[in-house]
Symmetry: C2
Subunit: 191 residues, 2 copies
């Protein structure tokens, strides 16, 4: 990890800064489009810095031909599809809960392993909000992570306890969505 | 461009969709972190689809060692730093306005050229909001773009006219920011 930069961010050029974090926790939540996209933008920045990056996707099916996975793997990201087994329609709830628990166990191992400087936990909030995993170990694992492991969590309705352990939280609010006007999801833009 | 997909989006699995757009316009606005990151996430998806992608950055300085540019160029993106000349402190306002006008002219040429299926106009809203470029030609160029040119615009305070020409608009709202607690921008995460 580089430690030699003090350039200000464009969005806050005059900010006075008094501390330096060894790592940070970002949460992208809200009902708008762009939560996961922003996480993959951060993934790109981490790769550019020479970091070891891991992505855990908790919900999206491995059958969807998702562009960020293809490019991420191509760029050396360790990619884990933990949502492959979801049935999505609650026909087999116990199965889905087991998939969720296995997914979180994978993420927890990754955090504790201290082998990546950036770990993206994509759509983790759903597992918490649906009651499929015990939330306390999630907050504990993030709070007690190795000092140089940066974490990005995405998903709607981030619980307050998750916001509490985060350094930066953005809520992506839907102002207008193409769906509302009857336009289909566009490959290359939406997935 | 692929035309053969009807898979639903994860976030809206049950949505009824009645139309298919040839291209869409996304706007990421608001005061929170993640507007540009999300645009670069979309860039990755476009690249994965085999699209020709262009990025125009209107504000950030070319001197900042920005990770998304390095990886974007590596992946074949046509990258234009139109903000290199900004002085940032209004010591030479006419110079900055000229840089802005030149930057927009570049973007307009790219749109009209119809050579890219995705064009990211990063931080374009500032040029409009600061009165440095004439806004009407911007809305015109986006509205009258070639049918298969998708456009993503980022920046705070998107004007209503820009929202009107967009298909999907997300507002990234700051819930909590590391700056507020005195933590420095982290290389690899913020820039």
């Amino acid at each position: 990890m580089s430690e030699n930069s003090t350039e200000p961010l464009m969005e806050n050029p005059a900010a006075e800064k008094s501390g330096r974090a060894e790592s940070i926790v970002l949460v992208n939540t809200g009902d708008g489009k762009g939560k996961s996209s922003a996480a993959f933008g951060v993934m790109i920045r981490g790769i550019a810095r020479g970091w070891d990056v891991a992505v855990v996707q908790f919900v999206k099916s491995g059958n969807w031909n998702v562009g960020e996975e293809k490019i991420g793997r191509q760029l050396g990201v360790d990619w884990f599809n933990e949502g492959e087994g979801f049935t999505w329609n609650s026909e087999d709830l116990e199965h889905d809960k087991a998939v969720a628990r296995k997914g979180w166990a994978q993420a927890q191992s990754l955090i504790e392993a201290n082998e990546h400087q950036l770990i993206v936990l994509d759509e983790l909030t759903y597992l918490i909000n649906w009651g499929w995993i015990d939330p306390e170990p999630v907050y504990e694992a993030i709070r007690n992570r190795p000092p140089k492991v940066n974490i990005v969590v995405t998903g709607r309705d981030a619980p307050q306890e998750l916001i509490d352990v985060a350094d930066t939280v953005s809520e992506v609010r839907k102002v207008k969505h193409a769906f509302d006007e009857g336009i289909l999801a566009k490959k290359g833009i939406d997935y």
